[in-house]
């Protein structure tokens, strides 16, 4: 089983990199793109035989305490193969 963790800056936090990418895209003529927000993606491979329910709790804790900073970021977790 794998856990896919998406970490994004909160909407209220300035995303200077995303803004620059937006401007670059507009400069390239992609008028359809109104805004870009940049984030981070983590793919966690769980050890064989890990209990699924325990793993969910553990990954949530890892995402909250390590992979994201609650002051500036939100996170979302998906599980899959």
């Amino acid at each position: 089983m794998k856990a896919f963790v998406y970490v994004t800056l909160k909407k209220t936090v300035l995303d200077a990199q995303g803004k620059t990418v937006t401007q670059a895209l507009r400069g390239m003529g992609h008028a359809a793109i109104a805004d870009v927000r940049q984030g981070k993606y983590f793919e966690l491979t769980l050890a064989e035989g890990t209990d699924a329910e325990a793993a969910r709790k553990e990954v949530d804790q890892i995402a909250a305490e390590v992979l994201s900073n609650p002051v500036i970021e939100d996170y979302r977790i998906e599980f899959g193969e």
Binding site: T12, L14, A16, N69, I72
Partner: protein, 223 residues
């Protein structure tokens, strides 16, 4: 006064801080390895130096906050010990929750490395008691992620409690309300993006950083 300068893998201002304290301030210093879990009993103040602890991987300071020494620094601070974080040290203090807010990518996306004008906003701290309120210090910055950010109510609280210690005269990085340095509610933990240790000798272009260390010395004497 004996300062403990914490050394993380990737710290690069640890020796600057050590040199500033021992050579330019005339006090004592010791280097403390990040794997140590206790602060030696003869240490009077802790400096978290600048640099790129753990390569700044994940987020600046994000991995450093889990190092054994930070647990010891938290205890030291809880007991009233004086702690200063410069640059990466400030980032580690916010990540560890010892100071509120966070430091994010400069709004101009540039790594800014130059002298800045820094206004002393309060002298009611152990780190600025030898300065004058409103005094402008010339101290260098060197960072790509020094944009101070926090929720508006946190900023309001910092201002209401006189905890904004330094402001930029000209904002180099987009920091909210021009904030360059703050202290905790107990006023014994300071975080600032500029490098006072790099402004302690005329050869460095400024000696204005000395006032931070002189303040520290007089605060320790008063203790």
């Amino acid at each position: 006064m004996k300062a403990g300068v914490v050394v993380f893998p990737g710290s690069n201002c640890d020796h600057d801080a050590y040199y500033a304290v021992t050579q330019n301030v005339g006090a004592q210093a010791a280097l403390l390895w990040h794997q140590e879990s206790q602060i030696p009993s003869d240490i009077d103040a802790i400096i978290l130096p600048g640099g790129f602890s753990y390569g700044d991987y994940l987020r600046c300071g994000a991995i450093a906050k889990f190092s054994p020494i930070i647990g010891a620094v938290k205890k030291f601070a809880d007991a009233g010990g004086l702690v200063m974080g410069f640059c990466n040290g400030f980032q580690i203090l916010t990540e560890s929750g010892l100071l509120p807010g966070a430091l994010i990518r400069n709004n101009n996306l540039k790594f800014r490395c130059h002298q800045v004008g820094l206004r002393v906003e309060t002298t009611n701290t152990p780190f600025t008691n030898a300065a004058e309120k409103g005094q402008i210090l010339t101290i260098p910055i060197a960072h790509g992620e020094g944009c101070y950010t926090a929720e508006p109510h946190v900023l309001d609280q910092l201002e209401a409690e006189d905890r904004v210690v330094f402001r930029y005269v000209q904002n180099p990085n987009g920091s909210l309300r021009d904030i360059a340095g703050i202290c905790n509610a107990s006023r014994n933990v300071l975080g600032m993006m500029p490098h006072p240790e790099r402004a302690t000798d005329p050869l460095m272009g400024s000696t204005d950083g000395l006032v931070v260390f002189r303040s520290l010395l007089s605060a320790l004497v008063a203790k």
